[in-house]
Symmetry: C2
Subunit: 344 residues, 2 copies
């Protein structure tokens, strides 16, 4: 157990914050990233947690990312606002845009936030959870780097393009899903490779376009969308919403900008917020919420079925009480960044 460290979430957050400041982030950028990383770690999503801090350092060093960028808000229409992230990171851009998005969703019933010129490295569910915390319904979409071929094609074009959706609940945590358009996360393929295990069928094709269960072949080839051509349709929709619609890059264009091959580039994100109280007239908001609960109860009544996000909330409850365990080597690496080392 000596190689594992137990940290309170507040300690982990400070550790991340100091490291991000150490690698050149402004206090605002560092604070927003540290919050995102801490929440992910607390929710059991280690791949978005402290592990990501050395990666942020690398992105700052090897890409166009601007670690002290100041996001700028602009109104595009009564229901649409834009944040230009100035090539900084998504957490701060989203934090700056959120209050205005919430205000507009309440006054207009539905509103959208176009995040441009950001580096999106973290989890997308934070964005929709920020909306559900305000009693709003949220949808979020972001592109990434080309890994998925179009339906019927063989060459990587779409990113793993996650889409997230959230529904607020009066009692207990919101119902949120945040899922990639690929059958598997890229990180899962890397984990299989590290463990020397073959991939499940249906995850990937090799460089020759033929199905493969070999992680190395998969990484050199393309990841398959979930559910065949239907998942590819979702990936295409994400490209259009978070790319062309808001005047930002497609995943293949982000990939072209990723000269160092670090698997992240500048891009956009699109968020839609709905005020459920403004979407119906015949029922009170309380009745509307109770109606949704009847669906959730049906789900929970069906044997092994669970609501999306339940595992995250269980991890969250645990880590708020007991803190989290992180590899000592990772904590040391992050601590070194705070002292001015250059990162992974």
């Amino acid at each position: 157990m000596d190689d594992i460290l137990r940290l309170e979430l507040s300690e982990l957050r400070s550790l991340a914050l100091e490291a991000l400041l150490g690698v050149g982030c402004s206090r605002d950028q560092a604070d927003a990233i540290a919050e995102a990383v801490t929440r992910a770690e607390g929710d059991g999503a280690h791949s978005h947690g402290l592990f990501r801090v050395p990666f942020y350092a690398r992105v700052i060093r090897e890409s166009e990312a601007v670690p002290d960028a100041r996001p700028v808000l602009r109104e595009l229409a009564p229901g649409v606002i834009q944040i230009d992230g100035g090539m900084g990171f998504a957490p701060l851009a989203h934090r700056v845009g959120l209050p205005e998005l919430v205000r507009r969703a309440r006054s207009q019933g539905i509103a959208a936030l176009a995040l441009r010129n950001v580096f999106h490295i973290g989890a997308l569910w934070h964005e929709v959870e920020a909306l559900t915390s305000e009693g709003l319904v949220g949808l979020a979409f972001t592109t990434s780097i080309s890994h998925i071929p179009p339906a019927g094609g063989a060459r990587p074009l779409y990113g793993t393009n996650p889409m997230a959706f959230g529904w607020p609940r009066a009692k207990g945590p919101p119902v949120i899903f945040d899922q990639a358009s690929s059958a598997s996360a890229r990180g899962e393929i890397l984990l299989h490779q590290r463990a020397g295990k073959p991939l499940p069928e249906g995850w990937a094709v090799g460089p020759d376009g033929a199905p493969t269960t070999d992680p190395a072949e998969a990484l050199a080839g393309a990841q398959l969308p979930f559910g065949g051509y239907k998942g590819a349709s979702i990936a295409l929709m994400v490209e259009l919403l978070a790319g062309a619609l808001i005047g930002d890059l497609f995943s293949f264009e982000s990939a072209e900008r990723d000269r160092a091959g670090i698997e992240v580039g500048p891009g956009g994100e699109f968020v839609i917020a709905l005020d459920p109280g403004r979407c119906l007239a015949e029922r009170s908001p309380a009745d509307q919420a109770a109606h949704a609960e009847r669906l959730f109860q049906r789900i929970l009544d069906d044997g092994e079925a669970r609501l999306p996000g339940q595992r995250r909330y269980e991890a969250r409850a645990r880590s708020q009480k007991e803190g989290v365990e992180v590899p000592r080597a990772l904590a040391e690496e992050v601590r070194a960044l705070a002292r001015g080392a250059r990162g992974a």
Copy 2:
């Protein structure tokens, strides 16, 4: 070829219209349905085409559907309008709401249409194509009748819940997908049953919850979502958007209202419209459209890859020139409805 009839689309439309009037539809309801049925037939979607007219007759006879309902428009918020369909059919409700939805999308940047108390029997892509024809981006969601279990569950809860998305194009038809949340359409299972063919793996489970390739077992059991739990997430989102959000029924509630077991019940539909010109500031709409075309070109450059909807547009071009073929028996059945027969 004697049992097949070739009809111009205008003839097919008249045939459908007269039949719908014959079974009690008001002229407005009948005209909107006849248009939807004709477009589906012309697009090669026979299961939503003339074939559906006797089914409309049956729905009118055996459900709460009100064939002469007048949809009522109401503003819920600057960006949200509601159409109460009065238990009529979706095509007229959508037709009544469309101009106001388009106006609001242009003035607000983003707007939503909540269709309540409608029977939705047709294809969802018409709704988004109506938006793309106005240069708007569209999303549409509708519930159906419980056929899909929740992730990890075994009992039907969600409907086959289609979701449609459309992107307008300056030249040529829009890019539109319209896809069920189930791995297969219910009609495809029926076709396999009729042909005495086993189902592909992954489409369904039997009443015992175990995977099956037997169509009868599948129809008595449950249809699987596309792409496993991720497709189930999409189905859940559709339930919440087209159900609780707008104060309408979930698929399991629609199923409870379907006392005659005709596989359709009253329900809701949710449509989001975006004006792409209001979602960015740095590019002209022409540059925005050209940007999207670069993505489409990449798709088309990849061997066998196609844009969603291409097959429909090819069928449309053919049927506009050559008309469509329909079984003579079906045409006779529809003709009989016009003369006052009671329908299938």
